[in-house]
């Protein structure tokens, strides 16, 4: 939109033809018009006089004399007679008079009449022109007053990729982000974040409306989703921890390329997880099989870099966030924190991986659920550490998971670690987790997360994150289905 505005020139008509000036012109023309009309009337009078005189001159010779009242000055009359009824003294102009007979006078008068008529016609034509001018001025004045705008746009063929990347953000599902878009991410980030924030606002409003409706209905679902959510959160914590450790081992500066690569793998994994989410909960058995598949994918460390996958990852994360929000008031208050939202994101990342091991962690999940349900702390950060502790205290399966996700986790850990200036201790890790989501590690996910940060900073985090999660809502999450 900005580009379109830059290309075109919008000139309000009022600037070209100022309203007052146009109106003044209209008035001037009207005045001239009225003057001309007065002259026209005068001419008409002259012509009628001439005609009458012709008649009179033709009639007078019929008699020898005519009794008349002869004026004497302006205020007195003398009774008298008209004599020499066929002799007329006609003024030709410039002090010249001629004596003419009636017939000749009539001819003179007729010639005069013709001259008058031609003048009359020319005056009429002038008046017509003035009328047209007045109407033009009037239209211009009214248009300028209305605020009519003249828009000139140079015809420029738009850059295809630009258009694509521009159209990407506003869509609810930007799975079609291409490589080119990545390049333009830096440029588009601002715009995108703006649009996303707007979308977030709208979705937040929707969700809040939903809240009121659904809060009462979803307790059972909430319990179940709590379970899964707890699992995911614990998984996320695990992954983060590992990433942090890896980061300090490897150093931060090496990670950019690896991050993107790892992002891709991660996104891929998340995509698969999303697919899993679509299944109903009763099919957890199948999930187990799929989880192994996912594991394999993980190990493969695929090179697919579609931002769409990353987005889906963030989508599912946001969905999880949403479900989390719907659970309880505490969670809502928790979600209000920016950090919490980001944390949730991170947790979701790990949570999704956790999800791939539903069976292994179910018991833990339940315990976690209880811990979460009982938690009345307003800080999600506090809850998360609890979850994390529980998770860490958990079985080897978790470590297994962490090991399996090792190839990708270091990248993630690096990504996470990169965000954290200091993250060795757990507690600070929790607190600094919000930094994770700040713009840097994942190009694609940056958009999502940074956008999350922006929006959350301005509004309630949970709903906004949920709203962002709802944008790429095509992979319908299990939780979402439960909710509805």
């Amino acid at each position: 939109m900005e580009e379109a505005a830059k290309k075109g020139r919008v000139t309000p008509l009022a600037s070209l033809f100022p309203v007052e000036e146009a109106q003044k012109a209209v008035r001037r023309v009207h005045e001239t018009l009225s003057e001309k009309e007065a002259e026209l009337d005068q001419f008409r009078g002259f012509i009628s006089d001439n005609t009458n005189l012709i008649n009179l001159v033709q009639k007078l010779p019929e008699g020898l004399h005519h009794n008349i009242m002869v004026p004497f000055g302006k205020a007195a009359f003398f009774p008298g007679r008209l004599i020499h009824t066929n002799e007329f003294l006609v003024l030709l102009g410039e002090g010249y008079h001629v004596e003419r007979t009636s017939k000749q006078t009539v001819e003179i008068l007729k010639r005069r009449g013709k001259a008058l008529e031609s003048q009359f016609e020319s005056l009429k034509a002038t008046m017509q022109d003035l009328k047209a001018e007045a109407s033009f001025f009037g239209i211009t004045a009214s248009e300028a007053a209305e605020g009519l705008v003249e828009i000139r746009e140079d015809y420029v063929e738009e850059n295809f990729t630009e258009r694509e990347s521009q159209s990407g953000p506003p869509k609810e599902h930007p799975p079609s982000f291409s490589e080119a878009d990545k390049v333009k991410v830096a440029v588009e980030d601002e715009e995108y974040s703006r649009m996303m924030s707007r979308l977030d606002e709208l979705e937040k409003a929707e969700l809040e409306a939903e809240y009121g409706n659904e809060r009462h209905e979803d307790i059972e679902n909430v319990a179940v989703s709590d379970e899964e959510y707890a699992r995911m959160m614990s998984r996320l914590d695990e992954l983060e921890k590992e990433e942090l450790e890896a980061e300090f081992v490897n150093g931060r500066d090496e990670d950019n390329a690896k991050l993107s690569v790892n992002d891709e793998e991660y996104a891929h994994m998340i995509a698969r997880l999303d697919e899993i989410e679509k299944k109903p909960e009763t099919e957890r058995g199948n999930e187990r099989d799929e989880d192994e598949k996912i594991k394999a994918d993980f190990d493969r460390s695929s090179d697919q870099t579609s931002l769409g996958k990353i987005n889906r990852f963030s989508e599912s994360r946001k969905l999880l966030e949403r479900t989390k929000d719907k659970k309880s008031a505490t969670e809502e208050t928790l979600s209000k924190r920016d950090t919490q939202k980001d944390l949730t994101g991170q947790l979701n990342c790990t949570g999704l991986t956790v999800q791939s091991r539903p069976k292994e962690e179910m018991s833990h999940g339940k315990g976690l659920v209880q811990s979460i349900m009982k938690s009345t702390s307003l800080e999600k950060a506090l809850v998360l550490p609890e979850v994390k502790e529980n998770v860490q205290a958990a079985s080897s399966s978790r470590s297994e998971v962490s090991r399996n996700s090792g190839p990708t986790n270091p990248g993630i850990a690096q990504a996470l670690g990169k965000e954290f200036p200091t993250s060795a201790p757990r507690a600070p890790l929790q607190d600094s987790k919000p930094g994770f989501d700040s713009r840097k590690a994942f190009t694609g996910s940056i958009i999502e997360r940074a956008h999350n940060i922006h929006t959350s900073s301005s509004q309630q985090a949970a709903t906004s994150s949920q709203s962002t999660g709802s944008q790429p809502s095509k992979p319908v999450s299990r939780f979402k289905m439960q909710r509805r």
């Binding site: 003024l91 008068l109 005069r112």
Partner: protein, 151 residues
């Protein structure tokens, strides 16, 4: 303060331009009409006196038929004259009666003229007063500014 002053000045100017000056113009126009009438009657009187002096009984004249086309006319008896006394009436007078009437008429016209003159004078005085007020309003700040450069 300045804006208040300016507003007053503007109001005064408006009053002058919109009320007093048109009134003045109208009064002057009316007076001019009366002047003309007066002139007419004085001309008539002169003519009648001339006629009387020369004992003119008949008259040959040119009558304007319209658009400066003249025709000869003859007045056989100049004793009787019809004078316009106003409201579209013309009264038949003898010369002496006519002269009498004309003098009366002239007096009346003179009085009218005097009235108009007084009216015009009062309007002019009003205009002058308002102008003086405006000048006073403007002069005070003007004086202040003038004093500045002096010192």
């Amino acid at each position: 303060m300045d804006s208040f002053r300016q507003e007053k000045v503007q109001r005064y100017e408006e009053f002058v331009d919109k009320r007093l000056k048109p009134d003045l113009v109208k009064a002057i126009a009316e007076r001019d009409k009366v002047f003309e009438q007066q002139k007419t009657f004085s001309d008539l009187r002169r003519n009648i006196e001339n006629l009387e002096k020369n004992s003119v009984t008949s008259l040959r004249t040119m009558v304007n038929l319209g658009s400066e086309v003249y025709m000869q006319a003859d007045v056989p008896d100049t004793q009787r004259i019809f004078v316009d006394i106003g409201l579209g009436f013309h009264v038949e007078f003898t010369w002496s009666e006519a002269l009498n009437f004309i003098s009366l008429r002239e007096e009346k016209l003179a009085r009218q003229i005097e009235e108009y003159t007084r009216l015009i004078a009062s309007i002019k005085a009003h205009i002058k007063l308002v102008c003086e007020g405006i000048r006073e309003l403007l002069q005070l700040p003007a004086d202040g500014s003038l004093k500045g450069p002096v010192f």
